[in-house]
Symmetry: C2
Subunit: 109 residues, 2 copies
């Protein structure tokens, strides 16, 4: 089924929805971040991945400082419209630590 931006349930979590950033080719999960409506609109409009930063309280484009932008090839929405996947082609590491992906730690018992 196809959905539109107005179908997304931004109200459930105070205007923000989690977005899973996944490599469109390798299917690795790169990052988990958040979008508000405006950042999702910017992503659709520009083709680059935009988010809402909860720590800095502002819109941000991945790569705006590092240059490691992500081209968004497709956006998927889950069954209850409160979570999103960006399928991306990254142009560099996803993590601010320089690691390829943010999920580089194993949880031990």
């Amino acid at each position: 089924m196809n959905k539109k931006i107005n179908d997304i349930d931004f109200a459930k979590s105070e205007g923000l929805v989690p977005v899973i950033v996944q490599d469109v080719h390798s299917r690795e999960v790169l990052t988990l971040a958040y979008v508000n409506k405006e950042s999702l609109e910017l992503t659709q409009k520009t083709g680059n991945s935009w988010f809402w930063s909860r720590s800095r309280n502002k819109l941000w484009m991945k790569g705006e400082e590092s240059g490691n932008i992500q081209k968004v090839k497709e956006i998927l929405v889950d069954c209850d419209s409160d979570a999103i996947i960006y399928l991306v082609e990254p142009s560099g590491p996803a993590c601010h630590t320089g690691e390829k992906v943010c999920f580089h730690n194993i949880l031990e018992k």
Copy 2:
């Protein structure tokens, strides 16, 4: 790097952390859900995927009603310890709609 359960930043979002459920073999993203500390401990203890349901306000094990349990093969933690991946072997569809994955909708412009 390895992390322990006490490293997880549950305080950031009122005791809950988002968890991406990903097929360990196909790398498909099945679901996005949430864990509190207790459900993460149950996951580590039992090897099945446990979560916290925000809508029902209770602990739940995937498959407790449908039988479609998920065996958790590894748990990954992101760089700032506020998001988790369960790498799972599913025994049936992940979505309550009967679809294999919850992310079965494409966002149109």
